[in-house]
């Protein structure tokens, strides 16, 4: 074992807690003071993508919107995307009107009609999307809690879920800080992170349970720390192979998928970190407070003292 790397992860818990504490504090502060920018899916409105054409400026698009009778053309946001399109957002939530306005704009600027998307969301839709996402989130977390409690123990499931909440908060925090728009894709990504972030945690917990079944010569924390080190390569590599495809998605996946990949990327990195930094540390502290592990620790300390004298 000596030639392999051995890191005292659990001994450095204060560093982990400090990092996580700062990240979470910043996230919560950003969520409170800056807030999230919600996409049209949550408040109703229209997003159009139009292929750009040489010589046509964003201002011309805005003028065309005004001519087409879009009520808030002045406040419409017009962005240019990397793949040469305009992303136009307006508050129009009537699909027929949005479609008519869009046709007028395309005619006015003689843009290709082939390369477009028009998405219109009615005002009530956001509520049902949010409600269904929250239901999915709640049910997921409950199911995960139940599954881990049955397969392992409830202390593992509570700490695993704490790590999840940690990851979700950080993802949302980064959205608030960067001002990126929260879309249903973001919500889907968040829900997926639940599963992925748990993957590493389960791998680590599995080993901890295996190593602490008949514990006599080590304290719980020592055994847990050994476990983390034993699965270190697994932890790093499984995280890498999950992060690699998502990174590819972020760089090559085009506008829609990029949005999705961003949330996933942040969540996965946070998830990989939190399975050791948060979940394992809290779990070890919690287990150490159990009488039998307290006794074990006392015994180990006495032994060490005897050896020293």
């Amino acid at each position: 074992m000596s030639r392999r790397i051995y890191i005292d992860f659990l001994g450095k818990k204060n560093i982990f807690f400090a990092i996580s504490g700062v990240l979470i504090a910043v996230s919560i502060a950003a969520l409170i003071f800056k807030g999230l920018v919600f996409g049209i899916e949550f408040q109703g409105g229209t997003v159009m993508t139009l292929k750009t054409k040489p010589g046509v400026t964003a201002e011309q698009v805005r003028t065309a919107l005004q001519k087409a009778g879009v009520p808030d053309a002045r406040n419409a946001t017009i962005q240019t995307t990397q793949d040469g399109s305009w992303l136009v957002r307006t508050a129009e939530s009537d699909s027929q009107k949005a479609e008519e306005a869009f046709l007028k704009v395309v005619d006015e600027l003689s843009l290709p009609k082939q390369d477009v998307t028009v998405t219109t969301i009615g005002p009530g839709w956001g509520r049902s999307v949010t409600r269904s996402a929250l239901t999915a989130l709640t049910i997921s977390i409950l199911a995960i809690l139940l599954y881990i409690s049955v397969r392992f123990e409830y202390k593992m499931s509570v700490t695993a879920v704490l790590a999840l909440v940690h990851d979700a908060l950080i993802v949302l925090g980064i959205y608030a800080v960067s001002g990126r728009e929260v879309t249903p894709n973001t919500i889907a990504a968040l829900l997926t992170i639940l599963g992925y972030s748990l993957y590493d945690t389960i791998v680590v917990f599995h080993r901890i349970r295996e190593n602490t079944r008949t514990l006599t010569k080590q304290t719980f924390t020592e055994a847990a720390n050994d476990s983390i080190n034993q699965v270190l390569a697994r932890w790093v590599n499984t995280s890498l192979t999950s992060i690699i495809p998502v990174t590819a998605l972020f760089f090559f996946g085009g506008e829609t998928l990029k949005d999705f990949a961003f949330a996933l990327l942040v969540g996965m990195i946070s998830g990989a970190y939190s399975s050791v930094g948060v979940a394992s540390n809290i779990y070890a502290i919690w287990k150490e407070s159990e009488p039998r592990y307290q006794a074990l620790r006392k015994k180990q300390a006495q032994k060490a003292a005897k050896k020293a004298s």
């Binding site: 993508t49 949005a98 269904s132 999915a136 599963g195």
Partner: protein, 434 residues
């Protein structure tokens, strides 16, 4: 059966299934149906809004679904679909549609057709002509002579001056009422309204006793077709409002698909490279695991596609890319555990047997947790996210299958032969002879 023959059998089963999958999904673009966000078209989610105080029943939704299906079919587009989406919404998908405005009008209208005595219309400030919008309550119920509910069939035709018109055939009750009224009121003007919009103003020239009549006006052929479609299908039992509408141009969708696939290939390539560099011989083995995994997944997707239960959407592509990482994860767990047990001094054979078993239990637990959240998303989330969750869930199932039958068996077979002879090629250190 001893372990060796069991493993050979398992590999054989996977091989056969992979071959079957290829047969099922090749050529990909023909066998896997694409969602509208990829091939272009109109996609609308219509949410039911019952009148105040009126509960929304399952029966109303089923009826609305049938009516919408008829209307969509009457538009003359192929491969259109109407699906239930949650308790109070319907998802309508019309691929490659040219006139999305007409389609939106057809889908959205409630379809209440009234034949009204012109004298009874109280809204005096509205000019009675085609397209005029009458305010609610512009005429009393008693002024309605017949309604769309009495229409047995409707079709497109032309009137005497060769303009597009809609022909109607009333049922027995409608024909009687129509005959009685037209006999008594020759020379009188009647107004035909659809959802409060005037379709036609006509004067009764002679009694109509055979229950056949024609609505002619100044509408275009397209509009006549739409009106006929709405009348033929009947009125909706509940008001449907579009809550999410997406129109995707055909080339843009294909571009997104290309980008998604490029990202998938890049991700797959990089993961494969990483596996080879880190795990060497086992990395090579993981290529076969990944290839079998993708084959099986595509095979299942193709079968579901054929049954109409799956179409690949952009979020689905994201799901596909993601599961590549997931599939690599289970190989990693197996290889690492094997190497660890060899390091601890076990023989190659017993390390392969117990190591892969332990790794699979870990993998199973970790995968099942992801599966749980994928299923929860699939059941409770609405909209495009569903396609993502379904792809993810299918991926997890395929991954477990391949890890269990293919990767595990292959490691056990290789451990006794190649790995034992040249452990360095597989990055294995230590261990005892078999």
């Amino acid at each position: 059966m001893d372990d060796k023959s069991k493993n050979v059998l398992a590999l054989g089963i996977v091989l056969v299934l992979v071959a079957l999958s290829w047969w099922a999904f090749w050529p990909l673009d023909k066998k896997i149906s694409q969602g509208l966000d990829l091939r272009g078209g109109l996609s609308v989610i219509l949410t039911a809004e019952p009148a105040p105080g009126q509960p929304l029943t399952e029966d109303m939704m089923n009826r609305a679904e049938t009516i919408l299906t008829e209307r969509v079919n009457a538009l003359g587009v192929s491969e259109a679909s109407v699906q239930r989406s949650g308790a109070d919404a319907l998802l309508v998908q019309i691929p490659g549609i040219k006139d999305s405005r007409e389609a939106l009008k057809t889908l959205g209208s409630t379809g209440r057709l009234d034949f009204v005595d012109a004298r009874s219309i109280t809204a005096t400030d509205v000019a009675l002509e085609y397209g005029a919008v009458l305010p609610e309550g512009a005429y009393p119920e008693s002024a309605i002579i017949v309604t769309g509910a009495n229409v047995k069939s409707a079709g497109v035709t032309v009137d005497q001056s060769n303009r597009p018109a809609v022909s109607l055939d009333f049922d027995k009750q409608g024909a009687d009422a129509w005959a009685k009224y037209t006999t008594a009121n020759v020379g009188q003007a009647i107004v035909i309204t659809l959802d409060g919009v005037v379709q036609s103003v006509a004067t009764i020239r002679q009694p109509i006793t055979d229950g056949k009549t024609m609505i002619s006006g100044t509408f275009t052929a397209e509009e006549a077709k739409r009106l006929a479609a709405v009348l033929q299908a009947g009125a909706l039992p509940v008001k449907l409002t579009p809550s999410s509408t997406q129109i995707v141009g055909p080339t843009l969708g294909q571009e997104s698909l290309k980008q998604g696939l490029l990202a998938g290939l890049a991700g797959f390539g990089l993961v494969a490279l990483f596996m080879l560099v880190y795990y060497r011989g086992f990395g090579l083995l993981s290529w076969f695991s990944l290839a079998s995994y993708l084959s099986l997944l595509f095979g299942i997707i193709a079968l579901l596609s054929r049954a109409g239960a799956y179409s690949l959407s952009l979020p689905g592509v994201a799901g596909l890319v993601l599961t590549v990482g997931l599939a690599a994860d289970s190989s990693i767990l197996i290889f690492e555990r094997f190497k660890e047990e060899v390091r601890m001094g076990k023989t190659f054979r017993s390390a392969a047997k117990s190591g892969t078993r332990h790794a699979l239990i870990t993998s199973l637990n970790a995968d099942l947790v992801t599966l749980v959240s994928a299923i929860a998303i699939f059941i409770f989330a609405i909209g495009p996210v569903k396609g993502f969750a379904l792809t993810l869930a299918l991926g997890i199932v395929c991954d477990l299958f391949v890890a269990f039958l293919f990767t595990r068996s292959a490691v056990m077979l290789l451990a006794e032969s190649v790995v034992h002879k040249a452990p360095a090629l597989f990055g294995v250190k230590g261990g005892q002879d078999v």
